[in-house]
Amino acid sequence: MKSLTTRLAVGVFAGVFVSTLASAETIRWARAGDSLTMDPHAQNEGPTHALAHQIYDSLLQRDMSGAIIPSLATEWAALPDNPNVWRFKLRKGVTYHDGAAFDSEDVVFSLNRAMADGSDMKELLSSVKEVRAVDSHTVDIETHGANPLLVNNLTNMFMMDKGWAEANDVMTPHDVAKGETNFATMNTNGTGAFKLVSRSIDEKTVLTANPNYWGKSIYPSQVTEIIYTPIQSSATRVAALLSGQVDIIQDVPVQDLGRVSSTAGLTVGTAAQNRVIFFGVDNADGPTADLRVRQAMNIAINREAIKKVVMREQSDPTGVIMPPFVNGWTAALNEYPAHDLGKAKALMADAGYANGFDITLNCPNDRYINDEAICQAAVGMMGQIGINVTLDAKPKAQHFPFIKGGDSDFYMLGWGVPTFDSHYIFNFLVHSQTGDRGSWNPTGYSDSAVDDMIVSLESETDLAARNATIAKIWAAIQAQQMYLPIHNQVLNWGMKDSIEFAVQPEDQPHFQFLTFN
């Protein structure tokens, strides 16, 4: 009964508004998956953050081009006399959807909540020692040793009202792993541009513009209502856009891009995505332990053919496992070797594998754009230099545990870099598999000098020296051909051409930026 009365109330409310506002601009938005929870600290996952960003704000956020801009914090800097402490000046006059004022107490509470047991965000704050309120609108964050990149980890760290959390007993995030659930999984109270009106999981979520939004005069803020429907089947999602039932879809399948952009009234926006796709190979055992074999495989990959045939021009071939936004990226690193079978065969012969060898390629089939098709193409390309590849494509739920177990000699992986810094790549993909580090490096690659350099990045505050170390690490792993890069994915959003909306590199639409033509 509750939702019927809510719906009636909303209907009456909307009716009143329509009569007063000449143009209520509704955006009907669809993507493949739904948000997993409305609790902003319980899941560190793309679609979950994308919806949370409409309702909650973080201290600072990435805009539609991926650059960091002020949000609930207006200024931030490390203290001049103590690089271990970052000081944030908070925006004044901000209120939550229920009218409560936003102040430093909420920041202290929210960050501690995000570091609590059961939070999925706590790894991003692992360097934080303490969060302190200096006055009502100033907050200090002290880290264990200097952390020059702290702000990069705060762009998805949402601020909740302490009073609301206390009143509703949601002082800690629900622990997804323990199968817990709480009031905040279905109810929200943020400072963001939109308020939650109704939500039916996997079906429909309705948001309405927050009339007291602090950013109203800063951003276009033309959208007055968002209706968000996950549509899983890509054919149905495209059909919904083509038939005018939705206004914007994310995740347009590459084979339908032509169809969408050639339809009158529709347009496709593209942008390089913050995700690189590559092959990992065993660096320690078997034929691929030989550097010349890895180099031969790298040269044998015809990246342009993959782009043209498999990806229908929707990819950005690369020679390094780093998307171009990331600190440390250079055009020289990004260059990939020309496809040269003669040279590759010569390297194979040098290594003593003129007759090739057998290997299994493990590949996900439901994770990346055309993942299995890319692997099929690679099977043929490796066959050209005598490597007999058996393809083993599996759903991601089986693929990832398998490769993390270190049982694969040759596998596909994709990597996004939420902090936009090389350290994130090094820490998970390059560092030896010890302790908390190297959890996604099952290649057997291990170099203690490189490990030391990676750890030193975490406390180096001299940015020039830090960037020099990053360059040295990249040079070391490129010389070893640790990974075989393929391409950076390209993001596509299909939308009505009456909408002016840039494609965001993290695949997160922020609807306060949207304008109508």
Partner: protein
């Protein structure tokens, strides 16, 4: 009589335990939920701790016994993915699936019988041949392809019907229905046809075969000789006698309509239990998967039980033979 019913019930419970066990065996091969739950930044220790906490390291029979014990108390735990109690999720989504199944079963029954009677009466006519050959499409094309074709034609090209979702719903108690709103009814058309097409062709062919059989019988000839009008002969005498096997088959098919709704629901983003199951499989959401399989298993067992009991009530020969076996 009571003994027979009790024995049937006992068999049904055994089948359900078997269903639960087989589905549990399958979960070993669908993969590992830990990476989905923890995200890419998790450390090795966190993974180990979570695997331990979820009991995934326990031997299979321990996990199975734990599940059965909880299921007997209607406690299916919380979904890993949706952070909701599984029982609530199923109750929330079941109305959508049941309404879809019911409408498509009615559609299949109505059009199946009409087309079956028609093709039997005019069995050499052109249109009867046309219906028979196009009905092959319903049998041979996979459901998702039919769904996509219907969306393409009626939603994209003609723009008559919505391509996805359930439209507006009205809440009556815990039951949310889309049968009372215009947009809800419009949303129902394409999924119901997609889901019911196979059953429709099945019923049509069954009715046609039965009709042809019965029209050859003596009592039909006698009815004609008495000068009864054709309408009465066909519908009053022939059709009535074909309906017994048709209703049996249609009843049994109701269970498979609910089970097959998985594909239709995925194509049309229909928010029912089938879509929930598919999402659970992708996420390795074991509590949801096991509860769903148990639900579908229960549904089949209950339908079969009802059909069995109806047989006993209708056909005295079966009842007598069963009683005899019991007394010897």
């Amino acid at each position: 009589m009571l003994l027979i019913i009790l024995r049937r019930l006992g068999q049904s419970v055994f089948v359900l335990f078997l269903v639960a066990f087989v589905s549990f065996m399958m979960f070993r091969y669908v993969g590992n939920p830990v990476d989905n739950l923890l995200g890419q930044e998790a450390t090795v220790e966190q993974r180990e701790a979570l695997i331990e906490a979820l009991g995934l390291n326990d031997p299979l029979h321990t996990q199975y016994l734990g599940f059965v014990t909880r299921a007997l108390q209607f406690d299916f735990g919380n979904s890993y993915r949706g952070a909701q109690p599984v029982a609530d999720m199923i109750l929330e989504r079941l109305p959508a699936t049941l309404e879809l199944a019911l409408v498509s079963a009615l559609f299949a029954m109505l059009f199946g019988v009409i087309a079956g009677v028609y093709t039997a009466i005019f069995r050499n006519g052109f249109s009867a041949h046309l219906i028979m050959s196009t009905s092959l499409i319903g049998v041979s094309l996979p459901t998702f392809l039919i769904g996509v074709l219907l969306i393409w034609l009626f939603a994209v090209e003609l723009g008559w019907l919505p391509s996805f979702g359930r439209g507006e719903t009205v809440q009556i108690g815990f039951w949310s229905t889309s049968l009372l709103t215009v947009s809800g009814l419009k949303s129902m058309v394409l999924p119901a046809i997609t889901l019911g097409l196979y059953q429709m062709t099945l019923i049509m062919r069954l009715v046609r075969a039965e009709m042809l059989e019965i029209l050859r019988q003596d009592f039909i000839r006698f009815a004609r000789a008495r000068g009864l009008p054709e309408r009465v002969v066909y519908f009053g005498h022939a059709l009535k006698n074909t309906l017994v096997p048709v209703i049996t088959v249609a009843g049994l098919q109701l269970g498979s309509i609910v089970a097959f709704a998985i594909i239709t629901e995925t194509v049309f983003q229909w928010p029912g239990v089938g879509l929930m199951f598919i999402n659970a499989v992708f996420f390795v959401d074991i509590p949801v998967m096991s509860a769903y399989l148990l639900l579908v298993g229960t549904l089949f067992v209950v339908i079969n039980l009802i059909v069995d009991l109806l047989y006993l009530a209708i056909d005295p020969r079966i009842r007598d033979s069963q009683l005899k076996r019991q007394s010897t």
